[in-house]
Symmetry: C2
Subunit: 281 residues, 2 copies
């Protein structure tokens, strides 16, 4: 598949910046960015990450074949709504938001018939935010979820799949938006909730002198973008509450085994986890 596209990245932060760096290697016809942060865009231009950055969306959108939104869910919806008239006819729009059902449903209440919004979610990132932490490597070996709905054009979906493959992702999975949100509540949102709760319940002075790898790894994502993650969890309320309940049930079973000194039960619980934790996970 040729890569002769004009591509615009909206939001030149960690994900947007990384996406731009990765796309650069694919030599699109033009690679532009839209952001309110002029410093970030000047840096990106200077480092040749992008051809040009724009604070005004009109110019790049009118010429872009593909637009990749790398901003928070609410802003993803707002941006498309506010700039609806500027998108080129036939444009493919995709996003990187951590929730899909609400984003896609709302966008489809106002989107033009001649542009195609295809939900996307690269399972890649770091605890830091901002262009200075961006790296095309974040996609290496990562999973990429695409959430097409019946009205999406199949050829356009395959273009997004192709991009995901070319930037280095290992698995490209297509599921419906509702299922995405159910799944992500477990695989992504719950681990963040656990990391935060573990970090916050610290009751040990000078705790850093008593930790090892298990604590560091389990709390890595506690260095959290609080605004973004509050939004993601609230927008996926039912699913994350469901996962928290399931998790708490499992914690209770471990607690009960310890309380009642049932060594074999505890060993079984641990062995079960160990065998579930396979190489791919």
């Amino acid at each position: 598949m040729e890569f002769d596209f004009n591509i615009t990245i909206v939001g030149l932060g960690l994900i947007g910046g990384s996406f731009a760096m990765a796309l650069r290697d694919l030599k699109p016809k033009n690679l532009w960015a839209i952001d309110i942060d002029t410093d970030a865009m000047e840096t990106a231009e200077r480092l040749n990450i992008i051809d040009k950055g724009y604070t005004n969306p009109e110019v790049p959108l009118k010429k872009s074949d593909i637009v990749i939104l790398c901003v928070y869910p609410e802003l993803t919806i707002k941006f498309i709504k506010d700039n609806l008239k500027y998108f080129k006819s036939g444009a493919i729009i995709t996003d990187t938001a951590g929730i899909k059902d609400k984003v896609i449903n709302e966008i489809n209440t106002f989107i033009r018939e001649d542009i195609d919004f295809i939900g996307g979610h690269p399972m890649a990132g770091k605890e830091s935010k901002g262009l200075q932490y961006a790296s095309k490597d974040i996609f290496d070996g990562a999973n990429y979820i695409i959430t097409p709905i019946p009205k999406n054009n199949k050829h356009n979906v395959s273009i997004i799949e192709d991009i995901a493959t070319k930037i280095g992702c290992k698995s490209i999975i297509k599921i419906d938006p509702k299922t995405h949100d159910e799944v992500i509540a477990y695989t992504s949102q719950l681990p963040h909730v656990l990391a935060v709760a573990l970090m916050n319940c610290n009751n040990i002075e000078n705790v850093e002198t008593f930790i090892g790898g298990s604590f560091r790894d389990t709390t890595r994502v506690a260095k959290i973008n609080s605004k973004l993650w509050s939004e993601l969890l609230m927008e996926n309320k039912e699913n994350i509450l469901n996962q928290i309940d399931l998790f708490q049930a499992y914690i209770s079973s471990i607690k009960e085994a310890i309380e009642n000194e049932r060594m074999e039960s505890l060993e079984d619980i641990f062995s079960e986890a160990s065998s579930k934790k396979g190489e791919a996970i």
Copy 2:
């Protein structure tokens, strides 16, 4: 401080093997091992990790200035008890078990007055077990906790501190055994409990296609040595139950903020975790 010691490692698994490799660089007078696994010891001899391996403890113990036990807590106690008469007068014995109070208390009910047992716990390890996974690098930058009691000889304690420093540990901390067990319930045992519960409550098919770094990191230690960790948790029952209760209270506060759609509260909770997660942690 000169390093002209005869040292014996008891248990040539992941920790014992790593300890032997690290001590090798310090050129002790002799470096021996005791294990029931003759294959492991032959491999270690062949690779020059140790000078000689013994299935019969008597010979090396009679000549060892320092004995480092790298076996499970119960076996640590049993080994010293069963081989009490063989230890050289003036020997320093230390261990690497993940709990300290019970181990030290029990050993002190029978230990000879002329040998010095000093509790130790390197905060280092990997999810795998066995000599084939051993590496001296596991101590690089790690914390090392020593739990001296009033009867321990101060000079002997400083020898253990010196060893911990020389094998690459970043911080050597001395605390009493009770405090160690309280602390470790939070910094080490709780993260393992969370990893196991998270792995076990998996309700997603083909989950490996939907995960990212946060899930991988939070479940890394779910690949758990079930026998060892059941023993560690049971022997530290009160402390780990206490930590689980504290943790569950924090999960409940997150759950409540989401249920009642209190966005600001959720942001505050996340911001608190983010600022607590400093560089050292």
